[in-house]
């Protein structure tokens, strides 16, 4: 009977109920989006960093990986030292640079990574194979499109310009052996990878035994923070960044979005709650006479409150899934805007759906909406029956 009356009351005021459901759904959508935003970037970045299993990144002192053009000297001895540590499973040294491919009108410039293909963690092979021989190269679609090449073609590329000779320096004929997707590059960024030794040779003597970054994968059970301290002690001329550090750095730079998410999320929750409270209050005030009649015929106060709560709950329970769907759609749209941040790895999402947080947030909204019906209905059910009946014209 409780549900019958609650449902009948909601259906009786269709437009009002529909608008309330829509309003709460929009609140729920915004709340969900803000929950997704508040931790999305961090979690997305974390999974990106750990996607290849490398927990530590070693960069030149005082810098973050690839933040500047600085390089680590005597890198070969550093890599050997790291590989000798029992807790270390794998070390991937990476040297960054630029590759210039001359064309009829100017040159196409792309980022190049010099690495060891067997231990690398910078790209995923899409087609072809790794560049195992010195004159082999893999590239992403953006670069292949720009230079007009495919897997199996050759390309003449240079590592730099010689201003005095007014020509390209470090020129080499390279064979395109694979098509790849770079994990940490931005969308539409042109990128390529060649063997480390080849890039060093192309960059000239000053690049010998230099790397821009070394990525370290630890054996299962090894403590990343402890290993970070060990390496920093062994090699004081570098900065060791753990995944936690990297995330913290990114967090700091993008703290604005987290704070925005918290504020807008709180506002959404408040507005959703206010909307349902207003709806319930007006709905109850309209029915003061009806409530007095119910009390007169012997319906308990608690039952009346329960009926109102069921009505509020019904609105919230219909609105929540609607809000979820709406939130996911708007999150995709908002994510597509933020994905255009320059230099942002293609795979980073600002809005990440994490079931636990999402359900908690929506649950909070539903609960607050339900509770909003309690006070007005209790108050109305506590009014004097006779005077209320006298005042209200019902029927």
């Amino acid at each position: 009977m409780l549900f019958t009356l609650a449902f009948a009351s909601l259906v009786r005021h269709r437009a009002r109920t529909a608008l309330a459901v829509l309003g709460v759904a929009v609140s729920a959508a915004m709340l969900l989006d803000m929950v997704m935003l508040s931790s999305g970037m961090r979690e997305s970045f974390r999974s990106l960093l750990l996607s290849q299993g490398f927990q530590l990144r070693i960069a030149p002192k005082g810098t973050l990986p690839f933040d500047t053009e600085a390089t680590i000297r005597d890198a070969d001895s550093l890599v050997a030292l790291l590989r000798a540590l029992p807790q270390v499973d794998r070390v991937s040294p990476v040297l960054g640079g630029q590759l210039h491919v001359p064309r009829a009108s100017g040159a196409v410039t792309a980022a190049v990574l010099g690495l060891e293909p067997l231990v690398q963690g910078d790209y995923e092979l899409v087609d072809g194979r790794h560049p195992m021989a010195p004159d082999e190269l893999v590239a992403n679609d953006a670069m292949l499109r720009a230079i007009g090449r495919r897997v199996g073609d050759t390309v003449t590329a240079a590592a730099g310009y010689d201003a005095q000779l007014r020509g390209l320096s470090g020129v080499r004929l390279l064979h395109v052996v694979g098509r790849v997707r770079f994990i940490y590059m931005a969308a539409e960024q042109r990128g390529s990878a060649i063997p480390l030794a080849t890039l060093r040779a192309m960059q000239g003597p000053e690049a010998s035994s230099r790397v821009s970054l070394a990525m370290v994968r630890l054996r299962p059970g090894a403590n990343a923070d402890a290993m970070r301290a060990v390496v920093e002690r062994l090699v004081p001329r570098v900065t060791v960044v753990s995944t936690t550090d990297a995330i913290r750095q990114v967090d700091e730079r993008l703290s604005y979005f987290r704070q925005l998410a918290v504020i807008l999320g709180a506002v959404s929750l408040l507005v959703g709650f206010l909307l349902v409270t207003t709806l319930m209050t007006v709905s109850v005030n309209e029915r003061i006479g009806e409530i007095a009649v119910m009390r007169a015929i012997g319906v308990r106060r608690e039952r009346i409150v329960a009926q109102i709560v069921v009505e509020a709950g019904a609105i919230m329970l219909v609105a929540a899934p609607l809000g979820l769907a709406l939130g996911l759609v708007t999150a995709r749209y908002l994510n597509s805007i933020l994905a255009r941040f320059p230099g942002l790895p293609e795979r980073i999402d600002f809005f990440l759906f994490q079931p636990a947080s999402a359900w908690t947030a929506l649950g909070l909204l539903v609960l607050s909406g339900i509770l909003s019906g309690i006070y007005p209905s209790w108050r109305s059910a506590s009014l004097g029956i006779a005077p209320t009946l006298r005042r209200e014209a019902v029927g």
């Binding site: 009977m1 409780l2 019958t4 009356l5 009948a8 009351s9 259906v11 009786r12 006479g289 009806e290 009649v293 119910m294 009390r295 007169a296 015929i297 012997g298 319906v299 308990r300 106060r301 039952r303 004097g384 029956i385 006779a386 009946l389 014209a393 019902v394 029927g395």
Partner: protein, 241 residues
């Protein structure tokens, strides 16, 4: 409807020195001034009097929807003038049926659902509840209107549903406040006949009314004026020998 199997010796209603005052601004207005009377089981009493004489106030006190300032009310052997809210609510549910001038049906519910409301509150579930509601609808002659909402019923039909609702939990006492007040003459006459039938079937009834025909149909007429009972007449045919 079931007739009472055994007449209880005690009156169903006992009112002693009942008074009810209302604060109106700085003044205290006495709506009832020390009223005392009893109602026997199976009796059909009408309370009449000019507007503002206190008859509705008296009915509200009998219906336990208001509290007296002083005095006592005993219904079916239980003191009801100082019950807790929960106890009063339960008493209204199980012991009293109240019919209002303006019907006061739930607009969102059908005729049958309106009758089921107090049944559900009393704990009756499912098929049993539905069947009881249907029986009551049949009793008041509205079987074919069970699925209609109040807005689809005439005034008379709405009042019949309200009466059926009041009878749902087999109350000891049926109270009616101007039950024909919103009805035309013909419908009012039908209502009067229904009340007589209810009483013949054993229901104790107290009505408050301006309607002379309704008052005449009752077996006892209590006249009130200015918050007091001025006369209390039993109909000649029903006077105890």
């Amino acid at each position: 409807m079931t007739a009472p199997s055994m007449r209880d010796a005690r009156p169903i209603v006992e009112v002693r020195d009942l008074a009810r005052d209302y604060p109106m601004g700085d003044e205290i207005v006495p709506a009832l001034r020390g009223v005392s009377f009893t109602v026997e089981q199976g009796e059909y009493a009408a309370i009449v009097g000019p507007s503002g004489c206190g008859k509705s106030t008296l009915l509200n006190l009998l219906g336990v929807i208001d509290r007296p300032t002083t005095g006592t009310v005993t219904i079916a052997g239980e003191r009801v003038d100082a019950l807790t809210d929960a106890r009063a609510t339960d008493f209204r549910l199980r012991r009293i049926g109240f019919v209002f001038q303006r019907f006061y049906l739930m607009q969102a519910l059908t005729a049958r659902e309106n009758i089921e409301l107090p049944l559900a509150e009393a704990g009756l579930r499912g098929v049993a509840r539905r069947d009881r509601a249907r029986t009551l609808l049949e009793y008041v002659g509205l079987s074919r209107r069970e699925g209609h909402r109040p807005s689809q019923l005439s005034g008379g039909e709405q009042q019949r549903v309200a009466i059926a609702r009041a009878l749902a939990n087999e109350p000891k006492l049926l109270l009616a406040d101007e039950p024909t007040g919103e009805l035309d003459a013909r419908t009012g006459a039908e209502m009067i006949a229904l009340f007589q039938r209810l009483n013949a079937d054993g229901t104790t009834i107290v009505v408050v009314t301006h309607d002379e025909d309704l008052a005449r149909a009752a077996k006892r007429v209590i006249h009130m004026r200015d918050g007091s009972i001025v006369s209390d007449e039993r109909a000649a045919r029903d006077r105890a020998p």
